[in-house]
Symmetry: C2
Subunit: 387 residues, 2 copies
Amino acid sequence: MNLESAPQGVVAGSIPLFAGHPARELLPIDGLRRVMSAAWEGSDAARMLNYGDEQGNRQLIEFLAARLRRRERLDISRDNLMIIGGSTGGVGMLTQHLTVPGDVVLVDAPSYRDALHIFRDHQLELRAAPIDDEGIVIDELERILQQLAASGVAPRFYYVVPNFQNPTGITLSRERREAVIALSRAYGFAIIEDDVYSDIRFGGALPASFFALARGQNVFRLGSFSKTLAPGLRVGWLVAEARRIAGFVGSGMLRMGGGANPFSAAVVADYCGSGAWEAHVEWLRGQYQKRRDLALAALKASMPAGVTWTRPQGGYFIWLRLPSSVHADELEARAQEGNVYFASGKGFYIHPAAGAHHLRLSFSYVPLPDLQAGIDALGRLIAQLMA
Amino acid sequence: MNLESAPQGVVAGSIPLFAGHPARELLPIDGLRRVMSAAWEGSDAARMLNYGDEQGNRQLIEFLAARLRRRERLDISRDNLMIIGGSTGGVGMLTQHLTVPGDVVLVDAPSYRDALHIFRDHQLELRAAPIDDEGIVIDELERILQQLAASGVAPRFYYVVPNFQNPTGITLSRERREAVIALSRAYGFAIIEDDVYSDIRFGGALPASFFALARGQNVFRLGSFSKTLAPGLRVGWLVAEARRIAGFVGSGMLRMGGGANPFSAAVVADYCGSGAWEAHVEWLRGQYQKRRDLALAALKASMPAGVTWTRPQGGYFIWLRLPSSVHADELEARAQEGNVYFASGKGFYIHPAAGAHHLRLSFSYVPLPDLQAGIDALGRLIAQLMA
């Protein structure tokens, strides 16, 4: 069972702190219902139920392009965008298009687990550089690149969740982004930025995207409505150079036979077009911030000395480091006895042992009292294991 | 532009006889609206908007498994099924999973154009055997297999639309299916049966599926709600051996991050669960049969001697063969001047020249008077070109 995507599979009454889902009350059910009712009454129903363009819903593409022009002053048009069936599907699509088995790709240590899974199943060779509070450590990345170059190997791309990373919540600094771009040009690799959390931002500005800093060159930027609207709609987008988008749209390899989810995408387009999405995102930020605040306060109150954790400024996740005397596996076994579940650190590393003393907590999904109770329970168990 | 999937891209007032879409009036808009309203009112809205299982909507899987057990006496359980985002996406998924660049796959001549496109973009080597009124010619297939074997090459799979094939409307006979299965065992290739038209059947029984005849062994059977409900929902299914389904569900390569279209799939599950789908399919059969009858009558009345065509017992398409003096390209250019569009035969063959005198007409999409007028116009133009 894929726990990440199926919290309903967990024992009833449990506290699934692993679940990177939006909580039920954060889904705009009424707003989506209104939009959909209007669509059924209008003339659009037949169109949204039929095949669409391979590039995806045009109204939604125009909306997203205008939003990026307005908010980030990006020089892009609808030719730089396509609609996809969610960003994880987008990672698979890009991997399929950009690599052949045996190719090398670069990732963070730790990195998004499902992406590692996708890369492994494409029989890619993974190289990971560690991250610190500003994201990937450039010297380590460069050392890997030099080693590869010495063997005549050019990596195909660097995959990163640049903002409020899954699993750590860390945001890659602007300086590091620019350094990565310089390396990408020197060594000839592409950059896939999986930017699904940037709208869940609790304050401050984010660094410019790779796509903005590199003026689009050899950058593939993924976005999604899964975190800010509803995952079940399976609607995301890809921003890339126009020639790349045209290539994808015309490619049989990526062809979905009528575009990504015409029906869901039409609903999302109408929801966005009404202005409801921006208002919902604004509201969501406050809701997730409240959850983050509660989680951080609970950690501070309940964790014994020696446990450290990240303080994310957005997104869904907090990353804990346990003292070297406490193994995440052991903690996991104990926690499950008390019906508390978290994502053990191992799965986020190429070399699982690197995550033996780490764990990821999600503050996005469980009810607030459970968030408090779950973290309290973990604090007690860690203290017991340290004793 | 992808004409196949974007008839809205064609000049207003045109007659798009290429369009393999359901006509607007054949989409059950009211029924889907009722189901969706009920879902919004019930407790399911939050679940259908969140991440789902990687295998797909459980209710829909159970419904489809029960239907196959009941109608085809297949010995299958929910472990043999997964929900996918439409059958063309399923072809891509299977291709990705079963092949590496350079592998050989077997197809019909002619074959479904988008599938050829997918296989080419995966850098596969295509080998095609011709079809006659009973489908693939076994001797020709065997000759290809012997040639490949002599070079030490084992093809990975045979791809076929077994029922009411796209583009010809031809159904592969039971005898030939059994012969293909025998060859697949002798030469070690899998069978992908892309079975999206079997429910659009105008009379008579269909031969048992490859999946049934081979007892599932090494067969991948794709189905879809695109032809019998609404393409825009992007919901299809895959039937395969349980170990294969488990492999796909657990595979990062195919992972979509929460299952195929939880929202649309939940709507489809409710629609099917209410009994509405079976009733709709029954009604659709009559509607498409009326369209097929009109098209065949129009062809009989307007085509000059020397033009021949298939008489499909189901599906969407009729396949025309022009006299050797008339080129489909020339006809296409003339027809477009009169705003009549069809799918030229070339795109359905590995070697385009093989389709120089063929064309595909779809009777699924255009209004009935346009179907008549379009075929009449083609008849006149062909007569002119023959003169």
